[in-house]
């Protein structure tokens, strides 16, 4: 594994309205790493990943993607983004293939699809186990299947970096396993992954490093906190060992 940083945030601050959401975040994700961003609701995890992809204005600090300052970064086909969404549906019916195809646009010239592009879309659907639903409307899918479609959409451009915002939220167990398997495959192919998670869950064995945010600051950056016994149950209020005494429980459970 090389140590070239793929994502590098230094002293990043961001406000939503006048409320500071990120208060000086340092975060580096190196090539081939799988980093989980953990934290309670409102700790700034989503804002942090959305600042990486330029969807949240940053008031101070620097962000680099593949060594290029994010403002000048244009090579977006190298980045696959899976937004936090419970649905992939718009106001007009669309098939699974149509939605996944829009993830391939970054690799096409003026949106003209060639054979290789159609093949890439089929491959992405195959990776998430949705090939048999390719012609179905996304309206007809369950929450977990929606999420699989959104991940296939991100994979269609064959990205080197995957950024996922709560990919397991609202996903049934069967789909969670498919997603974990998909991610394992991507990691084995050398993908770098940054994902926001509420709990480590079935992805735990894949994760190299966990960064825990609290109130817009990095509270922990290191090996993923081991959940044992009762603590491993989803929904458990996890008291983090690094938390200063009296800081209160750190909620990483889905149900908190």
């Amino acid at each position: 594994m090389t140590t070239e940083p793929v994502i590098s945030l230094s002293g990043v601050r961001a406000e939503l309205g006048s409320r500071p959401v990120l208060r000086g975040i340092d975060l580096t994700v190196r090539r081939g790493e799988v980093v989980a961003l953990l934290g309670a609701n409102g700790s700034g995890k989503s804002t942090a990943v959305r600042s990486v992809i330029g969807q949240v204005p940053v008031s101070a600090g620097g962000i680099e993607l593949f060594g290029t300052p994010q403002r000048r970064f244009r090579d977006w086909a190298r980045v696959g983004y899976v937004p936090q969404r419970t649905t992939a549906a718009g106001g007009v019916p669309a098939t699974v293939t149509e939605v996944v195809s829009s993830g391939r646009l970054a690799r096409t010239r003026f949106g003209v699809f060639r054979k290789a592009d159609r093949e890439a879309v089929r491959h992405a659907l195959d990776l998430v186990g949705m090939t048999d639903r390719a012609k179905d409307s996304v309206d007809a899918l369950s929450g977990g299947q929606h999420q699989r479609v959104l991940i296939a959409r991100a994979l269609a451009a064959a990205p080197e970096l995957l950024i996922m915002d709560e990919p397991m939220a609202g996903v049934d167990l069967a789909s969670q396993e498919v997603l974990a398997e998909t991610l394992r495959h991507q990691v084995s192919e050398g993908a770098t992954v940054l994902l926001v998670l509420h709990e480590l869950g079935p992805l735990e064995p894949l994760i190299d490093r966990a960064v825990v945010l609290r109130d817009g600051c990095v509270a922990h950056d290191g090996p993923p906190p081991k959940a044992v016994g009762q603590h491993a149950l989803p929904g458990h209020d996890h008291v983090h060992p690094h938390a200063p005494a009296g800081a209160g429980p750190m909620r990483t459970g889905l149900l908190s």
Partner: protein, 300 residues
């Protein structure tokens, strides 16, 4: 077909076909991004253009195109910069556009609001040679954008944030959608009228959705419905001496109701086929995220 013997009816039918194609072709993207009423707003703004056309004795079609494009660009800018108070700004734009139209046409030499009514509700007999030229050129532009850039417009309308992250020029595409919608309003105003334009953008799409699962099929069926109702409405208005705009819109709504009635048994059959194809599949799982229910907040 004696109807085709009259030059004015030939022009009217040509205009009707072009409207039937272009209005749903743009409308589908507006419906997809849940801005179904945008066409209505642009229609109001275009009234100022018609009024100015009379006042300056320029072609009302080109003047309406110019003003409605400016209005559409302004609406798009409002959407970017003033998300919270945007609706008030839009309301002022709509009503200002309507008032401006009435004012300018009354200031025009020999003008009165009766001149406006053919633009508000459509009038086939008044489609002139130069109108037809303008409508053909504008329709060609609309088709070039809506078909040529369909993948990009689909991506932006489906999920704007994702489209930005894939590096698509989202602002440009949004502006282009707004401008194309404005151009379509000008194409359609002679046939269905400014106040009913939006119906022809939205209702064929809504009707087509009753039958379809894919965007491509929705697009094709919406355009087919659009062309059928505009031709049907134009022919009916010729024989029955009824206003074409109202006839076309009522026919479109009729098509929507008919297709909705037809779709219910179709949907049931499709559900059965799906259940047969995926035995023991979906129904067991819950689409509501476990962490998002009110009851859990209490437990935390």
């Amino acid at each position: 077909m004696e109807i085709l013997d009259f030059a004015f009816m030939q022009r009217a039918l040509l205009a009707a076909v072009l409207v039937g194609i272009t209005a749903p072709a743009v409308g589908i993207y507006l419906v997809q991004r849940r801005q179904a009423l945008m066409g209505d707003g642009i229609g109001h703004v275009a009234m100022t253009g018609v009024g100015l056309g009379f006042l300056l004795t320029w072609s009302p079609v080109w003047m309406a195109t110019l003003v409605s494009v400016l209005g559409a660009v302004f609406m798009e800018l409002v959407r970017w910069y003033a998300r919270t108070r945007g609706d008030i700004a839009l309301a002022m734009l709509f009503y200002g556009g309507m008032a401006g139209g009435v004012m300018f046409i009354n200031l025009a030499p020999g003008g009165s609001t009766t001149n406006l009514s053919s633009f508000l509700f459509g009038s086939l007999s008044t489609v002139s040679e130069s109108d037809v030229t303008a409508i053909c050129l504008l329709a060609a532009f609309v088709m070039l954008v809506t078909v040529g850039l369909r993948r990009q417009l689909f991506a932006v309308s489906q999920d704007e944030e994702f489209a930005r992250v894939t590096g698509l020029p989202v602002r440009f595409l949004n502006l282009l959608t707004a401008i194309t919608a404005a151009v379509t309003v000008s194409v359609a105003m002679r046939v269905v009228g400014l106040l009913l334009v939006s119906a022809l953008m939205v209702v064929p799409v809504a009707a087509a959705q009753q039958l379809t699962r894919s965007f491509a099929a929705t697009f094709a069926i919406a355009v087919a419905i659009g062309v059928s109702v505009t031709i049907g409405g134009t022919v009916t208005s010729y024989y029955q001496d009824v206003p074409p705009g109202a006839t076309i819109v009522l026919l479109t709504i009729g098509a929507f109701i008919a297709l909705t009635a037809l779709a219910a048994p179709l949907a049931r059959r499709r559900a059965r086929t799906l259940a047969a194809a995926h035995p023991g599949g979906d129904p067991a799982e819950c689409a509501i995220p476990a962490g998002r229910t009110a009851g859990d907040e209490v437990g935390a």
